[in-house]
Symmetry: none
Subunit: 209 residues, 4 copies
DNA sequence: AATGAATGAGAATTCATTCAT
DNA sequence: AATGAATGAATTCTCATTCAT
């Protein structure tokens, strides 16, 4: 309880750790996991390589932390977007738009880190596993959202529907943001929205442009 | 001006080159681009490291060749599948199934190489570019297929529709084959098929289970 | 932006760097630039190959440092020798001897490194350039020396004279020290001295044996 | 004696060999011994690498052959130049100019190969030895030339004089042709000529500009 | 806690040379 | 004699990680 306690140092410690995480996210986004080395990260964070390794066992562990934090931010965004409005008050088209927007928003967080996240998802089992878990959560959330308007839906297998919809949106987002699709963004998003709306909702709602 | 790398002029030479390509595909599938080194590939191919470098400037160039060959095989499969039957004689549900099957078949070629191909698509601009070009071709093919039954379709913007459908299928395939989706494969495929059918076809056809 | 190679900040670091420089000079002298590899230099310096490359971008850069340091030592020797005595008090023959001796002394520093230095001067543009710059300095110094006794000289174009004299001495030194000239060293040095003396000085001084 | 004899093939053989020698000289001049590899030489000569090695045991042996041939050409040039005129009929200044010109001419043969020849002279004992032997011959020739006007000379130790003169000329030639001396070529050559003339010839002849 | 010097395994790549055809 | 495919030792250089201070 004396002022000699190391609490201020712990504060500084947290800051150091955060600065490494921030530097890592920046570097991984810009140059990828394999294109970035630990010294670069440390110096970008304004920290010695020795400190780097006292905070993180190795580069991979650091990536996992950055990745998890990023995914948590994404989840939070999605939840916030989807819960922003009372969706049962909205029309089918609007709901679909809201779903798409919520997933788009998640990817706007940092398109470049998103790209590298996909690299690692496909490349590394541990990353893949965490990614899968997150997808499960997003799916559950989407199922929850849909359940709120279940009586207006055509589809009955909400879980499968949510999975398929999420996949369609995710890949479309990538094709726009990462693979610069040759078509105009609006044409694709319109098509995507229409596909999802007609799939999910009963004809009465699906009819509307 | 002799080229940097050897141009096969003898039968033996062609065999060596091919064995390197085959070994590379195998190793890249199993251990990824970064997890495989040139010596391993050479010895897997039963060839000296010197030969490796006399046929391929470096590992990246080798990857590009393997990748391009793989993508060409995929394209061929897709075309063959989609042109197997006279599609204008088929019902909407069957057409959709055929489209899904054709894209699934492409990924059955080698799911593991497919995975690594995605890694590199997201990681490397040159790979991304080639991938984008192939997607364009697949899209064009799909648009062609749809045009054959245009009068039965609801959608009018065929290109955007084709893009969205291809995206939905591709990501769903990945979620099944690579990310071991928690749901049973059939539930997902059924949902996917229904989504696409209702999106593309007029109600008369879409009605059918 | 951290520099490519380590800038010594600790005492230990400076010692390591110096030990690499010393080992390099030794190895280059003994086996030449192309006959020595970085591993040998590192182990001769009692240092890991990793340290080698953290101090020097590559072998060539290391050579340049060794070379520049060597040339600086040479310059210092020459200046010291030529300024050792008040030359205006000396006779022409003695002055010439002093000049020859000063250049000989420079080459006594390390005849073997001298040899390799010549190899690289002829082989590499960057080395050549630095060598040329040093020659310019030596020439300027020699012109300065001559100017002190200008009224006793025959030659009027001091710069050209200095250049020619320096060339004559340098090649003669090499023919003695590197190419083991078939004649006895003294006969050659005597001839050289006489040539220079008669060239530079008015007859009154040149007469003297 | 029948037309089936391999004589034409021997002719072709000689041509192949010569084309390799020519290609080697070209490549060594342009990129140096270490900067050129055997495949390059072979392909420049329009010959397979297999043939290359059936004509020359290795790259070093090839260099020696090219080097020796070059030096022989140089010697021939020097002899021709020095014997072009009846030198006993010439004035001292003209004789000196003729000597300088003869040595300059030798270096004009191929300044770039000359440069690489120096590299190898300093770097390789075998090359050095051959070079020394050639210098001896040039020296003997120069002594012979001087002896023809011995009664007009000041110097008595002709061998030492010849050595020193040859050295002075050689280094000066290099400083002009290889190390781009900062002074104008004529000023240096004039100084060189004057130095040699005053050294070699009695005052009566040396007086003349 | 922090620093940065040191490590060395390992990856990529080259090239002189051999040898089967 | 000619060819060019094949070899693999040798070299350069990188980078994740450790450890003495």
């Amino acid at each position: 309880m004396s002022p000699e306690t190391r609490i201020p140092q712990q504060q500084r410690s947290i800051e150091t750790r955060d600065s490494i995480l921030a530097a890592a996210r920046e570097m991984f986004s810009a140059k990828g996991f394999h294109g970035t080395n630990s010294k670069e990260i440390a110096s970008q964070a304004g920290v010695s390589i020795g400190s780097f390794y006292s905070y993180f066992k190795n580069k991979k562990v650091l990536f996992m932390e950055v990745f998890k934090a990023y995914k948590q931010e994404q989840i939070i965004r999605i939840l916030r977007e989807q819960n922003r409005q009372r969706i049962e008050t909205l029309g089918g088209a609007t709901i679909v738009r809201a779903i798409i927007e919520s997933l788009l928003a998640a990817h706007d967080l940092s398109p470049e880190f998103d790209r590298e996240a996909m690299v690692m998802c496909y490349a590394d089992p541990e990353v893949k596993e965490y990614h899968t878990e997150i997808e499960r959560q997003i799916n559950a959330q989407l199922v929850g959202t849909l359940r709120q308007v279940e009586d207006r839906l055509r589809v009955t297998d909400l879980e499968a529907a949510a999975a398929v919809v999420a996949n369609a949106v995710e890949m479309t987002v990538h094709s726009i943001k990462i693979f610069d699709a040759p078509l105009h963004r609006d044409r694709i998003i319109d098509a995507l929205a229409e596909m999802i709306r007609r799939f999910l909702f009963k004809d009465s709602e699906a009819m509307t442009g």
